[in-house]
């Protein structure tokens, strides 16, 4: 099945990913090829098969809810592109009209 241009644009929007004109065209082509290849899975009878999300036999690993030291604030902020008064700084959110 071929992906439409609109589908690629929609997915790029969901993924918050800016794509160039050239990338949109290229991905449309390449992803269509991959999805076409994935059609081989349609020939397998999966009607009675449960899905595998993890290969591990364990579920819901629990631990005591106790207070433990976390990284100091200045260490956490050390890699931030922009910070102010102990916070991460970002451009305005509310003006965002999209």
């Amino acid at each position: 099945m071929a992906l439409t241009r609109e589908e690629v644009e929609h997915v790029a929007w969901l993924a918050r990913l800016e794509l160039s004109e050239e990338e949109i065209v290229r991905f449309q082509e390449q992803l269509s090829a991959i999805l076409e290849y994935a059609r081989m899975l349609e020939h397998i009878d999966i009607s009675q098969v449960p899905p595998t999300a993890t290969v591990l036999p364990m579920r819901n690993v629990m631990r005591e809810d106790e207070v433990r030291p976390s990284l100091p604030r200045d260490v956490v902020l050390a890699n931030a592109p922009e910070k102010e008064s102990g916070y991460f700084r970002v451009p305005p959110v509310l003006e965002d009209t999209e």
Binding site: L3, E7, V8, H10, V11, A12, L14, A15, R16, L17, E18, L19, S20, E23, F27, Q30, L31, A33, I34, L35, Y37, A38, M40, L41, E42, I44, I46, V49, P50, P51, T52, A53, T54, V55, L56, M58, V61, R63, L71, V75, V76, A78, N79, A80, P81, E82, F88, V90, P91, P92, V93, E95, D96, T97, E98
Partner: protein, 492 residues
């Protein structure tokens, strides 16, 4: 002693304990070697010679003291041993880029558990090695810092994604290395560069501090020059870690005890799919020779069939990108990494990600987001998860008949640099023989099996979940019988 950089870890350990060499001499020899060949090999993204020499000096103090007290033999195996770390594994205070522009200047505030355990033994960190961006690839061609070169033929790829490790080991630019394997990323480059690598059972090694690509598949594993070293590194990094809820609380044991043990009577399954369509006949020939050696050692070969091998490719290329699309949502230019300035937060996210990620990462984010999106989830993601169940069951059934499954590591020999870039989708097929083990969560080991036209070919041994020991036992017997791994390339 000449050429200390050519030593394996266990050889160096024995010399260090006896005081015949010092950790500083060893580390300096490897750093000199890096200086001599790195221009051609390009294995590293970041080198940390000062840190390495400081750690080596510390190790030497420990050795001197312990020898004085007559207890040098009780010191950790990897004390003073130079180590390369794939640049998707966090190292406190050392830049960890994931070979991506988006993390070009990121310095982790903590160590991955695997790194912490190696540091605790006293291993010496030489630097961070090249990889495909976020470990997405098979050749290091997707690195934002340019490809590494295969020391066996510098015009060819070293494999990937842990290709920097493989290039460094083959060129003797490190003694040991750790990488990550999501669909073959430690095994395929080991196979391409005449090395040993283990993908442990999923859950054996903590993923804490491993930058997440596909969380249900990612696993850290050793890459080394021989089987004994792989066992030592595996013992060092494996075991339960409360900081990774998918790490398994189950004793690792001393797999080194398996080295040298009898392999007579082991039942080795040979899937016909591993020698059929899509496999380079030259590779198949080399690996058939290797199987004859296993037979000479007393293993009982049995032809088996794993018909879903082919289907593992689409299962992987749905599940791995789907998980990646979620894991990589965190790179938004707010807390760390690259930020593309914009007037609004929304624009900033899009632009940061659009400019920070390379083409393969974007391709997989789009593919994964699509497979998870409304209307397609059942058709792709859920279907792939169900086929994943069948692939696991196929292995379970096979392991009721045999103890180990053997075949080639990769269906092809290392390709010329540039080919993957021109064929970004066809190259997915070269994962044919390493993906299904990751999907099933079973352990798999790559060991050198010889050469085809001067290019390395690897033998892959696959085991039951949590039975790394049998893999080490058989791989060691094969290695001792053949000694392929002793061959080293001439770099010119």
């Amino acid at each position: 002693m000449d050429e200390l950089y050519r030593l394996t870890a266990h050889e160096a350990r024995d010399l260090l304990r006896k005081g015949e060499i010092s950790a500083t001499e060893l580390t300096q020899a490897v750093l000199d070697r890096i200086h001599a060949v790195e221009d051609k090999v390009k294995a590293y993204i970041t080198l940390t010679p000062e840190i390495a020499l400081a750690q080596a000096a510390e190790a030497d103090k420990t050795f001197v003291q312990a020898r004085k007290e007559g207890r040098a033999h009780t010191l950790p195996d990897l004390l003073g041993i130079p180590l390369a770390v794939k640049d998707v594994i966090s190292t406190a205070g050392i830049r960890t880029t994931c070979a991506s522009r988006i993390l070009e200047n990121y310095i982790p505030p903590y160590d991955a558990t695997a790194v912490q355990r190696l540091r605790a033994q006293g291993a010496v960190i030489l630097g961070k090695t090249n990889t495909d961006e976020f470990a997405m690839g098979w050749s290091t061609e997707n690195s934002a810092f340019g490809p590494s070169h295969n020391p066996w033929d510098l015009t060819r790829v070293p494999g990937g994604s842990s290709g920097g490790n493989a290039a460094a080991l083959a060129a003797d630019e490190t003694i040991i290395a750790i990488g990550s394997d999501t669909g073959g990323s430690v095994r395929q480059p080991a196979g391409f560069c005449n090395l040993v690598a283990l993908r442990p059972t999923y859950g054996r090694v903590s993923r804490f501090g491993l930058v997440a690509f596909a969380s249900s598949l990612d696993q850290i594993g050793p890459m080394t020059k021989d089987v004994t070293d792989a066992a030592l590194v595996y013992e060092a990094i494996a075991g339960h870690d409360p900081r990774d809820s998918t790490s398994v609380d189950r004793p690792v044991g001393e797999v080194r005890r398996a080295l040298g043990q009898e392999v007579r009577g082991l039942r080795v399954g040979v899937p016909r799919e591993y020698f059929g369509e899509g496999i380079d006949p030259r590779v198949a020939d080399v690996v058939r020779q290797a199987l004859r050696v296993l037979e000479d050692l007393g293993a009982r070969l049995e032809e088996i069939s794993l018909p879903l091998t082919r289907h593992s490719i689409p299962v992987y290329y749905i599940i791995a990108p789907a998980e990646a699309s979620a894991n990589l949502a965190r790179y938004d230019g707010v807390r760390y990494g690259y930020r593309a300035e914009a007037a609004t937060l929304w624009e900033q996210y899009k632009r940061t990600r659009g400019r920070g990620f390379g083409p393969e990462v974007k391709r997989r984010i789009i593919l994964g987001t699509y497979a998870l999106s409304a209307g397609y989830y059942d058709a792709y993601y859920l279907r792939a998860q169900k086929v994943r169940t069948l692939i696991r069951q196929e292995y379970e059934a096979a392991f009721r008949r045999v103890d180990v499954i053997a075949g080639p590591v990769a269906p092809v020999v290392p390709w010329p640099i540039g080919w993957a870039m021109e064929n970004p989708v066809q190259v997915y097929l070269t994962d044919l023989l390493t993906i299904s083990q990751a999907i099933a969560g079973v352990p798999a080991l790559a060991v050198p099996a010889g050469f085809s036209d001067g290019l390395p070919v690897g033998l892959q041994l696959v085991g039951r979940p949590f039975d790394e020991e049998t893999l080490f036992r058989l791989a060691y017997a094969y290695e001792q019988a053949t000694q392929w791994g002793k061959k080293r390339p001439v770099i010119e």
